[in-house]
Symmetry: C2
Subunit: 143 residues, 2 copies
């Protein structure tokens, strides 16, 4: 039997002061039903990736302690690492002031990577602007 | 005279390999015209905030070296720190594999803070789940 998950529901956001200072998790999902989630490496704080969660992936992440996202490109729930082995064990989750963004500190399984291109982090290129010409180019950056 | 900004234009994303491995910045703006941008403190890597940029705010950020966002709540360009003094000087900008997210390392002006609630980071609350009851609550976290 596969695990059963209750149909997830989060209370809608209340007044601003409660959203910002209260103890209730009331995610402000966008019109697409998603909130952004930043994943950072629990070892050293490196930003690994930015992805999105809907209510169900957020609920599964909280229940299982592993990161579940919503894949916008595939239009489906995405248990990160299910095929690659790069499972993200959630050491800590935080929410921001207006509760429309999440931050998770994760321990990465498998080879410790995150990006589908094979890099550890998805942010492997620097954006550089030439001050004289104004031209912009991407350059490899350590990741 | 206020500074004039060319009407910003970025080339549309090309084939996947170019988007992921090429040297051209071709941001994948969402249907709302925005890309997410993570701001981290250049001093120690602390994640300060998540906000959004449209083409114009991205162009201004590149041209001025200071973070410009698009305020979704106010529906306007937002020069971070213009009123609070918490200017974000961009030390480095990165883009992710599919170019729909940005990461900036910033030096923060003014009192060094970022969040409108007065905290240094917007991620000042931890999301905690009680394993027995399944209940979820937010707890203050150092920020």
């Amino acid at each position: 039997m596969s695990p059963s998950f209750e149909s997830p529901s989060f209370a809608p956001p209340g007044p601003r002061r409660e959203v910002e200072e209260g103890a209730a998790l009331t995610p402000r999902f966008g019109s697409d039903g998603l909130v952004a989630c930043i994943a950072i490496d629990a070892r050293d704080g490196t930003v690994l990736m930015l992805a999105h969660m809907n209510a169900e992936s957020l609920a599964r992440t909280l229940e299982t302690g592993e990161a579940w996202y919503w894949s916008r490109s595939r239009g489906e729930l995405w248990h990160k690492g299910a095929t690659s082995g790069q499972i993200q064990r959630v050491v800590e989750m935080r929410v921001d002031c207006d509760q429309d963004a999440l931050l998770i500190r994760v321990e990465v399984g498998g080879d410790g990577g995150c990006c589908h291109t094979g890099r550890r982090s998805c942010f492997y290129r620097r954006v550089e602007r030439d001050a004289e010409t104004g031209s912009v180019a991407l350059r490899p950056a350590g990741a």
